[in-house]
Amino acid sequence: MIWEVFRQEKTGEYHTHCGNVHAPDREMAKMFAQIQHGRRKPTNSLWVVPQEEVGEVDTEEARFGGTTDKSYRWAMTYQGVDADFAEEVAESQQEQEAAERQRGDD
């Protein structure tokens, strides 16, 4: 039985998919996940999920957005003005930058 593994690096962050393990039950899956996915990278928590429980929708069934250049909807685009004059604006931009980096990892 295949279990998909999701790793969270730090408290409060998202669990992101990092691979899978073969195990007969949940307890074994958690143990294998620790050994295979929790040893070499900073890890705060792991989730294991039976692969058949994962729902998927792909490009055969759906038309996703994300193919157009939408840089106009990101704070980083407006380089002529600074975000640092107000901490909440700076924070929003940092979150957007982090999200963009994460997308870049895919």
């Binding site: 704070a75 107000a86 909440e88 604006v89 700076a90 924070e91 929003s92 957007q96």
Partner: protein, 313 residues
């Protein structure tokens, strides 16, 4: 849970739909979140005409993205309000259409010209964002959760608003003059965004005690003036003489309340101001015009109930 226990436990993201909360809390939270949701929707309707009036394709794209975001924020917030069990989303949208739903003072005014847009897109959005950042720590968890997504998106809105202002402030003489005129007109309304000073605020005490509000009107107004007055000056805008704003020794500001038109403000607060009634009517007509879409969706849902996935939160 009674009100005393709520006061005792009150803290960031402390309460959620599984808690048995007293009516006073649920009603106060509903009033606050419904106001916020209504404001997102009414703000979007005020800016919508500028998608057409925007001077370039880039501006059109950015503005339509922004208007779309604001409508989405409204939906997120109605959901957070609905989860308190006091009013349904339909009830709140009907109240807004019928002129009973309350919303932000600034969205009761007309906005006709492109050079007015930074007044909403930079100053009002900036003021709203200041307030919203503090609401990430509100005690109603679904509200705080909605704030995470909203604050994530708002950085683009505020920077885009400043970008428009910069373009006008460095543009032709006419553009600079029109920008100043718009600022003169909007500045007192923007200062009133934060309401009257704390000793006159009607709902603050309870909302603060139960952790719904985490900062007072006065503190928020101070933080806004600190960050946004230097910005206005940077773009060559003259701060209007009224309302008089004096800096105190401790670095906070005193706004001379008598310099502001509070009878207009309180008429607006009752939805009893003519331009605001126009805005409400405009949105109601839009809601009625797409009635057939809602009917088709409801009809589809009724016919396929139980066989298709329901919309997620």
């Amino acid at each position: 849970m009674d009100v005393d226990e709520v006061n005792e436990r009150a803290g960031p993201r402390e309460f959620g739909p599984h808690d048995d909360l007293p009516r006073e809390y649920r009603e106060a939270a509903t009033r606050m979140i419904q106001f916020h949701a209504n404001s997102e929707i009414m703000g979007a309707y005020l800016e919508k005409p500028f998608i057409r009036q925007a001077p370039s394709l880039d501006r059109k794209l950015a503005l339509s993205a922004k208007v779309q975001d604001e409508i989405g924020h409204g939906q997120l917030l109605y959901r957070a309000a609905e989860s308190l069990g006091v009013k349904t989303r339909d009830e709140m949208l009907t109240e807004l259409a019928e002129g009973e739903g309350k919303f932000l003072n600034c969205f009761h005014y007309e906005m006709d010209e492109w050079w007015e847009t930074p007044m909403i897109a930079f100053f009002v959005d900036g003021a709203a964002m200041r307030r919203q950042a503090t609401l990430k720590r509100t005690s109603w968890e679904p509200y705080a959760h909605a704030m995470d997504k909203i604050c994530f998106e708002e950085g683009f809105h505020v920077k885009h608003g400043e970008d428009i202002m910069k373009e006008l402030a460095t543009g032709s003489k006419k553009e600079r003059e029109k920008l100043q005129e718009a600022f003169d007109e909007w500045w007192p309304r923007i200062i009133q965004f934060f309401g009257p000073t704390d000793d006159q605020s009607t709902h603050h005490d309870f909302a603060a005690d139960v952790g719904l509000k985490t900062m007072t009107n006065d503190d928020l107004r101070n933080a806004f003036i600190d960050a946004y007055v230097p910005k206005a000056k940077k773009y060559g805008l003259e701060i209007p003489d009224e309302p008089r704003i004096r800096e105190r020794d401790d670095g906070t500001y005193e706004v001379v309340e008598d310099d502001l038109d509070w009878s207009e403000f309180f008429a607006i607060a009752k939805n009893d101001y003519d331009p605001g009634k126009e805005q409400i009517g405009g949105r109601r007509r839009a809601q009625e015009a797409v009635e057939w879409v809602r009917e088709a969706l409801d009809d589809h849902e009724t016919r396929t109930r139980g066989r298709e996935p329901q919309a997620a939160d």
